[in-house]
C-alpha cells in the first residue's frame, strides 16, 4: 500500500505523521510519499513551522517558498526514516486539496494522512478546509488527525 502523508508545514502535520506510524503496520505499507503543496497565488505560498528554513536568511535574499516546502518535507520524512517502507519526497504546486487528491490518484494511494489545523471557531464558521475537501473527494480512505483537546495554537494565535 502506498501512503501519502501531506504536510502544510504546520506542527500538526508532523504530529499527524508520527501518529500514522503508531497506527499503521509498517509491513503492509510499501511506499510513503511525503507531499507538500505550494500555493502560487496565495498570500503566503508555503509556511514552514518545522525548521529554520527561511529564518536566518539575510535581508533581501528573497523568499523561496519551494525551499520552505522542501525543508518541511525533510522534517516529516525523518519520521519515517527507520520505519521500513520506501520514502518519497514530493513537492507540487497549486490548490492543496486538489493536488493531494491528484497525487493520490496518480500514485494509486491506499491512504492519505492529513492534519486539520484547529478546533477553533474558524473551522465551523468558514468554508471547508483542505482536510475537509480531501476527505470529501479522495479516491481512497483518509486519516484526518485533529489536534488534541488542548490546542496550543488554535487558542493562542
Amino acid at each position: 500500500m502506498h501512503v501519502i502523508i501531506a504536510t502544510d508545514g504546520s506542527k500538526q502535520s508532523l504530529t499527524a505523521a508520527r501518529y500514522a506510524t503508531t497506527v499503521l503496520d509498517a509491513t503492509k505499507v510499501t511506499d510513503v510519499s511525503v507531499l507538500a503543496v505550494v500555493r502560487p497565488l496565495a498570500a503566503v505560498s508555503f509556511s514552514n513551522e518545522l525548521g529554520p528554513s527561511s529564518a536566518g536568511r539575510a535581508a533581501g535574499e528573497g523568499a523561496s517558498f519551494r525551499a520552505d516546502a522542501e525543508a518541511a518535507i525533510e522534517v516529516v520524512a525523518q519520521v519515517f526514516a527507520d520505519w521500513g517502507p520506501k520514502v518519497h519526497k514530493r513537492t507540487r504546486s497549486g490548490s492543496p486539496a486538489n493536488e493531494i487528491i491528484k497525487a493520490a490518484t496518480q500514485l494509486r494511494a491506499g491512504l492519505i494522512v492529513v492534519a486539520s489545523g484547529s478546533r477553533g471557531i474558524s473551522e465551523t464558521v468558514l468554508l471547508g478546509s483542505t482536510a475537509q475537501r480531501v476527505q470529501q473527494y479522495a479516491p481512497c480512505p483518509v486519516l484526518v488527525v485533529r489536534p488534541s483537546k488542548k490546542p496550543r495554537r488554535a487558542v493562542r494565535s
Binding site: 497565488l41 498570500a43 539575510a58 535581508a59 533581501g60 528573497g62 514530493r90 513537492t91 490548490s95 488554535a154
Partner: protein
C-alpha cells in the same frame, strides 16, 4: 467548484519532481489582468484632464517606459526566479542592507497607496449602481472584504483569476466596439486625437503630467514576480508572458483612450469620476443605457477588484517576508493554523489602507480638497518610479553575474532609455506636486516605525542578522 480547478498536469511527477503550476499562458493572463485593472478604469478622466484630446499619447509614452522596465524585470527574474522582486535584485546588485530595506518599504508603500487609489475608484463605479452608501464606507468595506477573501484563500484559484481577466477584457472590448460603431456612423472627429488642451501650460509638460498619471495604469506588472518561483521554465516563459501581457495591455489602453476621446467630449471625461462609463452612456449601442451602465460598472468593479486583490497579496507577502528577515516584528510572520494565511500581515495591511482612505476623507472634510484617487495614484507612481529606476540599474549592474545560457537579456540601450524615462518622470512628479512627498514620507515613516518596533521589542537582542552579512541558518531563530 471554482477554486478546485487549476492548471493542467504538467512536468513529470518524479520522485521529487519539481512540479510547477504556472504556465506561460496563465502568467500572461495574470499580468494582463493585474495591469488592466489598475489604471484605465480609474484614471482615464484625470489623464484626459491633464492633456486634452490627445491623451492617448500620454498612455503610449507611459506604457513604453513601463514595458522597458518590464524588460529589466524579465532579465532579473530569469536570473533569480524567486518570489521577491525588486528588493532581491537591489540586494544582489548593491548588497546594502539599508538600501534593501528602503526598497522593500517603498514596494510596500506603493502597494498601500495603489490599493487606496483603487478602492476609491471602485467606490466611484459602485455609486453608479447604488449611490446610497457614502463613498468612504464603500471603500473601507471593500478593503476589509478583500482582506477576508485573501485570508480564506479564495484568491488562490487560477481559474477565478482568468475569469476576472476575461471580464476585464470584455469591458474594454465594449468600449472599443462603441468606438468602431461611432466611427462607422461617421460622427468621429479625428482632429480630437491631435488636440492638446493644456491651458497656459506648455504641451510638453502637459503630456508629461499625463504620462505620470497614465503610468499608474501600468504599475502592477512587477507583481508577476510573486509567481516566478512556480513558473514552468521561467527563463523561456517569463520574458514572453510578462512583455506579452504588458504590450497587450498597452495596445488596449491606447485604443480605449482614443475611443474615449472620440466618443465623449474631453471636458466630460475630465469631470467624470468614472470616465469610461461616459463612453457607455453616450448611447452609441442599441442597448438601453441603463442596462449598459450597470453592466459596465460591474465589469469595471471586477477589474479593479482583481488588481486590488493582487496588491493585498503583495502587501501581506512583503510583510511576511520582512518579519522572516527580522526587520519588522515577528508577529507579521504569524500564520493562521488552519487557513495557512498570514492573518496579522493581512489585517495590518488592510488597516493601513483604510487609514489612508480615512485621512483622505478627513482632509476633504476639513476643506483641504484632496482628490484621493489622484493623490494616492501619484504617491504610488513616485514610489514605483524610484523602484523601477533602481531595478534597471540593478539589471545593468548584475550583468556578468549569474549568467547562464538560458538567461534573457534586455537590450542595453533600451535599459538606459528606461532609466532616463523613469528618472525624468520622477523628477517631474516631485517638482510638480510636492504634496505627494508628504504622503510618501508618512508611509516611509510607518516602515521605519515597524523597524524600530522590531529593534525595541524583537524577541532577542543578540541577533546575528543585524550585522549585515548573510548569516548561517540558526535553528533558534525560527520565526
Amino acid at each position: 467548484m471554482l477554486d478546485e480547478s487549476d492548471a493542467p498536469a504538467l512536468v513529470g511527477d518524479e520522485d521529487d519532481g519539481l512540479k510547477r503550476s504556472i504556465t506561460g499562458r496563465l502568467l500572461y493572463f495574470y499580468v494582463l489582468g493585474d495591469v488592466l485593472g489598475s489604471g484605465i478604469y480609474v484614471l482615464i478622466g484625470l489623464v484626459a484632464a491633464a492633456v486634452g484630446g490627445a491623451f492617448w499619447i500620454a498612455f503610449a509614452v507611459g506604457i513604453t517606459i513601463a514595458t522597458i522596465t518590464g524588460l529589466a524585470y524579465a532579465e532579473l527574474v530569469t536570473k533569480f526566479p524567486q518570489a521577491a522582486g525588486a528588493a532581491l535584485y537591489v540586494n544582489k546588485a548593491f548588497g546594502n542592507r539599508a538600501l534593501t530595506f528602503l526598497i522593500t518599504v517603498c514596494m510596500l508603500s506603493a502597494s498601500f497607496a495603489a490599493a487606496g487609489s483603487l478602492a476609491t475608484g471602485f467606490s466611484h463605479y459602485f455609486s453608479e449602481v447604488w449611490d446610497l452608501p457614502p463613498a468612504l464606507l464603500v471603500t473601507l468595506v471593500f478593503i476589509l472584504i478583500l482582506a477576508v477573501v485573501n485570508f480564506i484563500g479564495i484568491t488562490e484559484s487560477v481559474v477565478a483569476n482568468m475569469v476576472m481577466t476575461f471580464v476585464e477584457i470584455a469591458g474594454l472590448v465594449i468600449v472599443v466596439i462603441i468606438g468602431i460603431v461611432y466611427v462607422a456612423q461617421g460622427k468621429a472627429d479625428f482632429g480630437t486625437l491631435a488636440q492638446l488642451d493644456t491651458g497656459d501650460q506648455s504641451p510638453v509638460f502637459a503630456i508629461i503630467a499625463g504620462v505620470a498619471l497614465a503610468f499608474f495604469a501600468m504599475t502592477g506588472f512587477e507583481n508577476a514576480a510573486n509567481v516566478a518561483e512556480e513558473t514552468v521554465e521561467p527563463s523561456r516563459t517569463f520574458p514572453r508572458a510578462l512583455i506579452g501581457g504588458m504590450v497587450t495591455a498597452g495596445l488596449i489602453y491606447v485604443v480605449v483612450a482614443a475611443t474615449a476621446a472620440l466618443v465623449v467630449p474631453v471636458g466630460t471625461l475630465a469631470k467624470s469620476d468614472a470616465a469610461l462609463l461616459e463612453v457607455v452612456k453616450a448611447g452609441v449601442l442599441p442597448v438601453p443605457v441603463g442596462v449598459m451602465t450597470i453592466l459596465f460598472a460591474v465589469i469595471a468593479m471586477t477589474a479593479i477588484t482583481n488588481t486590488t486583490l493582487v496588491a493585498v497579496v503583495t502587501q501581506s507577502r512583503i510583510l511576511y517576508g520582512m518579519s522572516r528577515e527580522d526587520v519588522v516584528p515577528g508577529v507579521f510572520g504569524r500564520i493562521h493554523a488552519n487557513r495557512r494565511s498570514p492573518w496579522v500581515a493581512l489585517s495590518f495591511a488592510a488597516a493601513v489602507v483604510c487609514g489612508l482612505l480615512v485621512v483622505g476623507a478627513a482632509l476633504n472634510r476639513a476643506g483641504v480638497g484632496v482628490d484621493v484617487v489622484e493623490r494616492l495614484a501619484l504617491v504610488t507612481v513616485v514610489f514605483t518610479l524610484f523602484i523601477y529606476a533602481l531595478v534597471i540599474v540593478s539589471a545593468l549592474k548584475l550583468r556578468g553575474e549569474e549568467e547562464r545560457e538560458d538567461v534573457y537579456h534586455a537590450p542595453t540601450v533600451l535599459l538606459w532609455v528606461g532609466i532616463l524615462g523613469n528618472i525624468l518622470l520622477l523628477g517631474y512628479v516631485v517638482i510638480d506636486d510636492p504634496g505627494s512627498l508628504i504622503w510618501c514620507a508618512g508611509l516611509l515613516a510607518l516602515g521605519g516605525m515597524l523597524f524600530v518596533a522590531e529593534l525595541l521589542f524583537g524577541r532577542s537582542g543578540a541577533r546575528s542578522k543585524n550585522s549585515g552579512e548573510p548569516s548561517e541558518p540558526d535553528p533558534t531563530q525560527e520565526a
